[in-house]
């Protein structure tokens, strides 16, 4: 069989130590095996997987969600439409779910803080936030977010006023939640791009708050 190639040597290291190409770990070889078999059957178009990887590595990420949040903070009509039915509103901005999922935006208020988890596996609003961080996929977060959300928030350095209730939303394959964080004090007068910089990934999962303007990192 020809034409099936792989490049190696992704990590800089001393070439003299390896007489042969660096052997990838077992699961990596199993993935290559699947790819080879499916490519041979004509099920995979060469280059298609690289394009998907490029999309998720470079084009889709929390910056998309931050754009949506900044728009909601600066445009009352947009905010209302977003809260009513987010899927078509974000699709208009080019953020749509490739897995056919429905997007729901839940708004933080002084009365209620929202937090998102997926107890099933790791469902997440990919088009708006990209690939979830490791902790979102961990058993610890998935179990504790529902059982003791305030303790989890404390682990993330978030302490809410006593009067603020915490509501936890469990994502599924069909419904993915995005938290609309509260607009930070002192952000009046900021333009949309400056506002978007205050919106962290965690603030849209509900394990963080939006940054204060000029607060530094």
């Amino acid at each position: 069989m020809t034409g099936l190639i792989a490049t190696v040597g992704l990590m800089p290291h001393d070439h003299s130590e390896h007489p042969h190409a660096l052997l990838p770990p077992d699961p990596a070889l199993r993935v290559k095996a699947l790819e080879t078999i499916l490519t041979g059957k004509g099920l995979i178009t060469p280059g298609a997987l690289d394009e998907i990887i490029d999309t998720y590595q470079n084009r889709i990420g929390p910056q998309n969600g931050a754009d949506v949040v900044a728009r909601a903070w600066s445009d009352a009509d947009f905010r209302l439409a977003l809260l009513k039915d987010a899927t078509p509103v974000v699709a208009d901005l080019g953020y749509y779910g490739r897995q056919g999922e429905h997007m729901v935006v839940v708004e933080n208020t002084p009365e209620q803080h929202n937090m998102v988890v997926c107890t099933l596996c790791s469902c997440y609003p990919w088009p708006l936030l990209g690939i979830p961080p490791g902790w979102y996929k961990s058993d610890a977060y998935r179990a504790r977010a529902v059982r003791e959300p305030r303790k989890v928030l404390a682990d993330f350095g978030v302490t809410l006023p006593r009067g603020t209730a915490v509501r936890v939303w469990d994502s599924t394959a069909e419904v993915r939640y995005l938290v609309l964080p509260m607009r930070p004090e002192g952000s009046e007068g900021l333009g949309r791009e400056d506002l978007a910089r205050l919106v962290t990934r965690d603030s849209m999962i509900g394990t963080g708050l939006a940054l204060a303007p000029g607060g530094g990192a």
Partner: protein, 105 residues
């Protein structure tokens, strides 16, 4: 606050198995709720013996789910995958360091 971006995928094969699954879903071989249900079952089974950290073990569960789904769909068989894995392993071991690894040459 740490604002340094984390890599989206910590290992190249994590990205590969993710993209392969998304591609096959988009090509209509299975729907996403079905995938999520199967993946959830694998995660649960793995989580019974130890606490999963959401990293390497997460993608190991992902790969196991994809392998069994493809077997069920009749697209691959465990023997075929194992043979092809061995072929790749042999190709890596037979390729001088720095050269492009080719299968079956």
């Amino acid at each position: 606050m740490n604002t340094a971006p984390e890599p989206v995928f910590s290992q190249p094969w994590h990205a590969q198995v993710f993209a392969l699954t998304v591609y096959l879903n988009e090509a209509g071989h299975f729907d996403w709720p079905d995938w999520a249900a199967r993946f959830s079952t694998t995660l649960k089974a793995h989580g019974l013996t130890r606490e999963l950290d959401g990293g390497e073990d997460y993608f190991n569960a992902w790969l196991e789910t994809l392998e069994s789904l493809l077997t069920e769909l009749g697209q691959t068989s465990p023997d075929q995958v194992e043979q092809m894995r061995k072929a790749w392993e042999a190709a890596y071991l037979a390729t001088p360091h720095g050269d492009v690894v080719r299968l079956g040459t």
